[in-house]
Symmetry: D3
């Protein structure tokens, strides 16, 4: 944090930090496979793109960011089991608010707060997705449009996602909110990109309305490699209801099947369809680890340790 190594339990944010006072935070989350970070360079590059949009100048260069991240991972990997993995979080804020701290005017900031930290991935919490498929529910809350705040940057402005989630979970306590944009097009969920598959083609909502997810990019790359089509276009709830399969793509669990939208079964209702299987198998191969197996296995362990 800000150039020093400290234990996470001691990592905290000044309550006058603009990252908290005005929610100005750019961030990234990377995960490891077998303790090695996945597409770290892509995450770092996106981080700097977010900074540029937010007009925050990062005090270190991308190369240094990657090196420090690797260092942080190395220090923390020894603390987890070999079959566990880490999430690595990078975040940066403009620093302390002069107004709140009594040191400056209402629009002044101190030096940026930059922090890189890790946490052990609790993958078992997503195990249900692989057993039953996730249930996405469309709330009445719409996603924030790019002319207010571009969803292509990875920031923490997620108060509307919180409302969306709360609303979706009125339908089903395990539901994941799937937000529409102001025109009624499907966008993304609070923590993942959303994809459908139809007639052997994976389809993503138009890129202008969503985070350019790195897990989604991985799906696209694998689709290309394995002869599955990949397209990007405006889709609506009708398309999801009548898709063959649907997925959530997100850093911690990579890719998860979606089996229902608003209570309606997608495809034949099976959790894991053939396109899902084709992609996750190839991905597992790439990273030398059974991705679904890791989620499901750790679950049992967790269940045991609960006793």
């Amino acid at each position: 944090m800000n150039g020093r190594f400290i234990p996470v339990s001691k990592a905290s944010l000044d309550i006058c930090d603009i990252g908290f006072v005005s929610d100005v935070v750019v961030t990234e989350m990377v995960r490891t496979f077998r303790h090695a970070p996945f597409r770290l360079e892509d995450h770092v590059a996106r981080f700097y793109r977010s900074c540029r949009y937010a007009r925050l100048e990062c005090p270190i260069h991308p190369e240094e960011m990657a090196a420090v991240s690797l260092d942080v991972l190395k220090r923390n990997s020894s603390l987890i089991a070999t079959d566990e993995d880490l999430g690595l979080v990078i975040f940066m804020t403009p620093g302390i608010s002069g107004l709140y701290a009594g040191t400056g005017g209402p629009q002044s900031a101190s030096t940026p707060t930059l922090c890189i930290h890790t946490f052990p991935l609790q993958l078992h919490y997503w195990a249900d997705y692989y057993r039953d498929g996730a249930h996405v529910v469309v709330p009445s809350i719409r996603h924030i449009p790019p002319q207010c705040l571009d969803p292509k940057i990875k920031c923490r402005s997620r108060m509307h996602f919180w409302l969306a989630k709360e609303e979706a979970q009125l339908v089903d306590p395990k539901a994941v909110a799937l937000c529409l944009d102001l025109d009624g097009n499907v966008t993304e969920t609070p923590g993942s990109n959303f994809l459908i598959a139809r007639n052997g083609v994976v389809i993503s909502p138009s890129s202008h309305n969503i985070l350019p997810g790195i897990s989604m990019a991985t799906v696209r790359d694998i689709a290309h490699d394995t002869g599955v089509g990949f397209e990007e276009r405006d889709i609506q709830v009708y398309d999801v209801m009548n898709a063959d399969e649907a997925f959530l793509a997100s850093t911690p669990y990579c890719l998860a099947p979606v089996s229902r939208i608003n209570g309606v079964r997608i495809g034949n209702g099976a959790a894991c369809g053939p396109i899902f299987t084709r992609i996750i198998d190839r991905w597992s191969e790439m990273v030398g680890l059974d991705i679904v197996g890791q989620v499901l296995r750790v679950k049992s362990g967790a269940a045991l340790s609960d006793n």
Copy 2:
């Protein structure tokens, strides 16, 4: 903080708090006049309205919230000069993210984080407003619409306001961003309500798009008392350019004159017009303190102490 009194310098937020991780924070800011809080009950009531919208259950009741606030103010008032005043901040978050803390699933939260703290108002930073009038600049960034996140709650989702401010300050480093809504109507600035006066009537943008500001409500009350009209309707940049006067209404400095929009003079370009004067004089009378004088006087002191 969470039921204990600690010095502000030790007040910090867990970096896994959902208030920081996902920007879910409801908040209020109250100021004192002569060390007594102004319209504390109104702030507390709005806080509970915000909580209801955000589905956050506050662990204490409104009466207790008011009582604790008074207690916090009392403890801190002794630390400032008699002619200075305090800002009191209340904020609440859903608590620690289970995902980041490794203690729960992606949507779990712990007990809410509730904090009440104060800071000495650095009023001199606004002194220029009373000398030259503020300069508002309309950025290309639009305000977030109510169907995404209702601006009627006081939360900290202000990343778009940061972008708006950065953009406005390209025109003038002291400029205040005045955001339009998606239809091109004037809404508010990152830290204040915006009002115009024309033909003896104070006009506020429509209430559905803006924070129901308590300083603005005070202006309305004073307008009623002093025979000034007060209306609420959709206004556009044309109306601001052709207003007689324009104002910012905000808790710390109460009401400040605006003399320019996008570089164009409003009215005759004098900082403080007759409606402004009528309202601020009455307000000063109500609170037993020369509001403008306090801002301008403290300024000199600050300038001295800088040496």
Copy 3:
């Protein structure tokens, strides 16, 4: 029907009628109190306004329409108990589709189909509203905007309301869908106007987006008579959550209390608040019948007859 009296059980619509083939139907529903129709002239006048907008020429004049309606009511009133009441339905369509009937081109119609029929009001189905308050849920489906089809006409274009209802009932099988317009403002439910009360004032959503309901007009009239304020303006979900009371206004049950929106309690959560009581009492007085009592009493009867 089309000038002849026939039993409802024999009343049917040609499947080639444009009222069914293309959903071109203007309609009204009137109810009786003690077998006398309530504000029949207002309903008839609105029917002719709807016809004008839909460019359907009604074959009879308003006076004749009212006279026939009274006649139909008289004939049917003898079939129900004295403490029961009737719903009277008027509808008109352009007539048979030439295309489907094989008698004309794709845009030809025969003479209009005009029908007036009655049905016994099954008021007990709304009894829960008076016990627990209705639960309104905001679906993701938005109300159709006036530039497509003006909600000010009473027609049967309610496919989107069906979808809205289905979606709302995923949250609660008894929920009533409360649709937002494309800008996120509250409009109406599939079968009723929606109103809130705050600080002694009844507030209706802006009239341009909703049916000019005759029950709502009655509420406005009674509000005027009894010293309750009545305003019309754009309201959002935040306003409903923070209202003191909320209501549904609809021909069959007149006015019903709403106690929850999206699972959140409105006011103190009691079904019938003071404004509701003041209005319904006056209304009951006007029509010489205990409106709530009729709903609740008949319920018991129905329950008995179910055995």
Copy 4:
């Protein structure tokens, strides 16, 4: 109808059917060529997609639907001349409204009403299209957006199309309304998809705003087969005015040329351009019947029989 065969002249709908009361109807129309249905499976598949979106569960399976349709066609084909063809209509509604029928609450329905019926295609009514080209006129009424009711389902919610048609026919009594969406993009007409051709490429409006027409799909297939390009993108009135050719695609008459928009000639103003001819010739070949000839010939017959 609901499992029984009855003559069309006796087919009627209960006036309390939700398909009429609230316009909840999903439907399909298939036509025959030489008494054999065209792409029946595609129509049936789209019917089930519409049902899924509308949350109506069809009491029979797709295979049975196709089989019954064939049976209905066979029974009715004997009633028409060999050179005539049939239209087959499938529709389904949620059934009788409990409210109107006095048998249930306001949101209850009985068992679905399902009906399959035929009518002899009166193709001569479209003969003018092939002589002079159709005249499309853009009304001020906009098409309903997908976030209210997705135009991708085939339903009968066409009240706005009626208004659009009435408005368009103020310009020209034979005009066909061509609706724009809320953003000003061309969508479709009340009974057909709309296509343009420019530089040898057929262009369809974006698919998210229109019915996925089966005639249009046939055009796309034929375009692919015959070396004509086919694209899908947002088009505006400017593009139509400056197209080389324009078409209507619809089940009864397959494909018809459009020669004018808002009174402005498209291309050189000839009814049937080279792309039109190439496609309709191939289509005629596919179905073993001169499609245009059938329309024009029957016309003469009809003219005769008028005497």
Copy 5:
């Protein structure tokens, strides 16, 4: 023109003037009654409001503008008959385009072009409005929204009004286009404000979308004086169709009755209703001239002089 008096026949604009090259022109039109200008100060004040919005600095002061206008009127009044009247036009542009003139960069301008000229009002061209009522037709073209170019300034950006007029006149060669805004609300016509009357109240569309017309302001003033209500709110085509009366308000002919919209009769279809008569009579009284009589009489004269 630019400070010199020249005959209108010699008044011309450089083809490199930015007023023509890029359509940057602010303007006003005033009319005389009995050779005296009507509300000249209001027109001049609006002219300076338009200039401020357009960031054009007028080289003379408002008082001088009024004085010169009176002078121009005086010089030209002698050229017309005593029972005729003049239109006076003021316009200003940024001056010659440096780019086109070869004297400067793409964004440079010379000194402003300011011109005041008159023309004899050919009032007889509007005589039909007083005989049959005007026919307004709603085109598919929408009015430009305030966030692009505020309709509250009087400028000459009327290309979209030209398209709207052309489209409306497909329905009726004498029709006047009545444009909707992007949300489907009624705004104004290419040359006049539009008003309706219902239940004794004159209603104007919301002011944020239309020119603040001085004839309309006169109607409002007269309404107040004569006990007619005057309101401002969003209205749609439904409201116009179901109004009692409707009007066009415009400088040359003051106020004209509207008898039809989209072919549908408004009220009882008579040209001049009671509210119209009450207002125009009072207006005629104010200016000492029979306004309608002047339009109708001059017509006959014009007819004669045609021989």
Copy 6:
């Protein structure tokens, strides 16, 4: 002008011309390279497409238009140096307004005004673009949407562009305004198309919102020829900030590099990137003239002649 040759210094427009009074003008600008017009046929074709949309009938045919243009160029080329070039402007208006000229009703026009004129290109005014790159700034003013006035026609309705430019130049007096559409997508600048390049692909905003620029079409053609990709899709400010290069494409200067948007450097901040160089070199080759050299060289000359 209107069929006669006159010196530009004598070319002027009647102040009653509808092209000035109501801004109804369709236009084109062509430039020469070595005194030969570039893609004259494409400009003429676009001119006729604009006319068709505007319902203006050009009195001469396209072939004649091209021939006259060549003639005008020939006559004027002798007046400039051999290393200079000409801009040729075509414009057409509906002619004199009957209303203003006192010769007709409010909607009458005389014969069209058609004018073809030239001016010497003052290329040196753009020299800074090639030294430092242009600076684009996004104003709060949005581009006019196609449903009001289609930006695909080349007309002179640029009042909103004037406002946009004025606003952008508050940030930087040399800035070029880059307008967003109502949804926040990048469109174009007041005088040029805007393009970005990323990963070796040139990307244009979607074509429905912008002028189909002929310089942009040339870029596309050259991109195809030289192995650079070319795509068209909705882009936002984020995409521009994170592009590798960005360009303005416009008839006078062909293609110019953009180095900053809203003060943020694009790519590495160098004016001329590799894609720019590849395209401009090929273009220079095509026209036999060093395009950048011509701009920069003439600059020096101009600088000299300023002394």
